[in-house]
Amino acid sequence: MTVLGELSLWLALLLAAWGTFVGALGARSRNPDLLASARRAPYALLLVISVASLCLLVALLRHDFNVQYVYQYSSRNLPTPYLISAFYGGQAGSLLFWALVLCAFSAAAQWLTPRRYNHLMPYVAAVTSMVTLFFVVVSLFAANPFERLQFTPPDGAGLNPQLQNPGMVFHPPLLFFGYVGITIPFAFAVAALLTNRLDTGWLHAIRKWTIVSWVFLSAGITLGMWWAYVELGWGGYWAWDPVENASLMPWLTMTAFLHSVMIQEKRGMLKKWNMILIMLSFVLCIFGTFITRSGIVSSVHSFAQSSVGDYFLVFLILLVAGLTALVWTRMPRLEAEAKLESMVSREATFLFNNLLLVGMAFTVLWGTMFPVVSEMFRGVRVTVGPPFFNQVNVPIGLALLALTGVGPLIAWRKASPANLKRQFVAPLATGGGAALVAALLGVRHAYALLTVALSAFVAATILQEFLKGTAARHRLHNENYAVALARLVARNRRRYGGYIVHAAVVIYFVAFIGDVYKTEREVTLKPGETASLRSPFGHEYTFTHVGISQYDQLNRFVFAASLEVSKSGRRDGVMTSEMRQYLDSMGQPTFQPSTEPAIRSGLLEDLYIVFAGSPEGTEEAVYRFTISPLVWWLWFGGVLLVVGGVVTLWPSSGPSRASVRRALEGYQTRMVDEEPMAGVR
């Protein structure tokens, strides 16, 4: 199948170049036939890239080990779901997968965008074709998935055991959807700049795409945390590794964009800032890919070094230069239409939230790149690790959390002190009360107390928003409370979906508190021996080592160590942690043994047990016991975040003609009734 696959890639090269070239040419000459042809390019690209992807998939499923990629990332005894995930498990395949997702998104953008944006679409096609062109070039010349070996090995090298986990089947695609999704708003931004159509039109066209990519990115990052937690065996979910930081940076700038774009829609301010944010997000996606694939910063899990990094670097430089020039020439057209009316307005809180988010993205970038920067300027490589990121980002994160609560309580344009007082009394009291209760229960850590207070404060503001909004509808429209609540959310999906996402963010922060109280202990136990560990919530856990069993399972040999667990004196079942030795189809061991922690999740705390091995020929076992409080809240927050995103995305949430008509009717009737209006006339 490699002939067809390779052929398709060359076709893609041709088509992507055609789309880019014809889009640009047609735009200059305004030739409708050329423009129509450019708009077809994303569909044609989707076709050929799908064929190429299918070829690679078939090669994997057929165990065609003569194909180098298939040999490197799969083996005969690899379970089928992981055969499919091997498609994006390695360098070359993941680049092809990226191109595939990009083509699907760009074709969907061409297909789904309402006709009134037709003037932008050829340019959008040109930009997406240009980005596709880059990925196809890399696939063909630097990391070709269809490269053949000179001989056919009997079996493949197998997939890294750490990738043989359900989390790894779903995490990379979600993250890719998020990364690639950003390309669509980016393409619209470039199209708006090129056409000089810098009204708010393009912002409305990309709104859904922005939210879609943001939700995917958030879900991808959260799933990545889950994978790290259940698979890597160190008991945590976030290590500030360059790979993780690479996904966090565009997430932060996209979050900033989601907020600041509302100011431009409502007030016509921040046009330059928004333009820069969306471009920055896209550039950071490419940059993140660059740092994880070039070996420029050492990461625990980067790809093997290859020339792919050079291609990304060149693309990055061209991209930044081109975009800077483009924005520069359009500066005069990006002037603001309105002024900030008051420091105490929602606009102002959004501006501060933006500064903090971008500042945070910058600190993450700084910390990630610091080894390189310090070597360049001071001649010594100085690295910073998790302590740096925590020290810097915890205060910024808490300030952001505070703004999450403050923003929605302040009206657009201007707020007066009396109203602020009325709005803030209940949430502030809730926050203070929660902190007091936490302190009485023995929380002494300053940041933990602050997080408790702020989380309760924000949660109270969200609740208050829902309650007051429902009450207002009840009064204004005479609806009963249930109908009022449903209509409130249905008529303002973006606002209330956004509040649900805010609630999810609060839940993430609650989970972060747990990290402060993580308790760990490492012990070696003989059968029958016990060890105990006291949890932060005051439970006394006792572990009795039962023994070690050995058996074959799928494509691996398993050593399983079992423990009898009791919680505060009461028996609480058996937990089994595994050490897996993966085997190839000849029964020979491949890769180092990997540990599979035993995890018992609860609302309050997770019990996390790693079996780290046993001395040769004995039944003794080395264990690490970890109690991680509140980790479960992360996964719950992730689910709620997606729910909020879906509410926001549910079709037709823009200000519709119908809603304006209703408002108009309201005012026409009132104009007759109301006295003061006569004076105006």
Binding site: P32, R39, Y117, T200, L203, N419, A472, G654, A663, V680
Partner: protein, 105 residues
């Protein structure tokens, strides 16, 4: 051999898709545009509609009314803002009437 043949088919299909507008010259935009839902939203690409003072003022009025109801705007601020935006809306509507090109909302 079959692979090459399949490749040729894919190539022809892809090229036909892209080149058709150039060769046939007929279908132009509509065929390429695909599915365009008429979602009843305000057309923000149409400056006449989205930035017409009437619509802007009406959207602002809706918003400040809700903000007052949920207690975010004081009555004082509300009435000054309301007066401003109502005046703007009225002027815009009057102008539309005299010019006779009322917007079909």
């Amino acid at each position: 051999m079959t692979e090459l043949l399949a490749g040729v088919v894919v190539a022809l299909a892809a090229l036909a898709l892209v080149l058709e507008p150039l060769v046939m010259g007929r279908p132009r935009f509509k065929a390429a545009g695909g599915w365009s839902p008429d979602d009843g939203d305000i057309d923000f690409t149409d400056v006449e509609e989205s930035e017409s003072p009437k619509i802007q003022a009406l959207l602002a009025l809706k918003e400040i009314e809700f903000d007052r109801e949920t207690g975010k705007l004081s009555d004082e601020d509300y009435s000054t803002m309301k007066a401003t935006y109502q005046r703007a809306a009225l002027l815009a509507m009057e102008q539309e009437e005299t010019e006779g090109h009322g917007l079909a909302v």
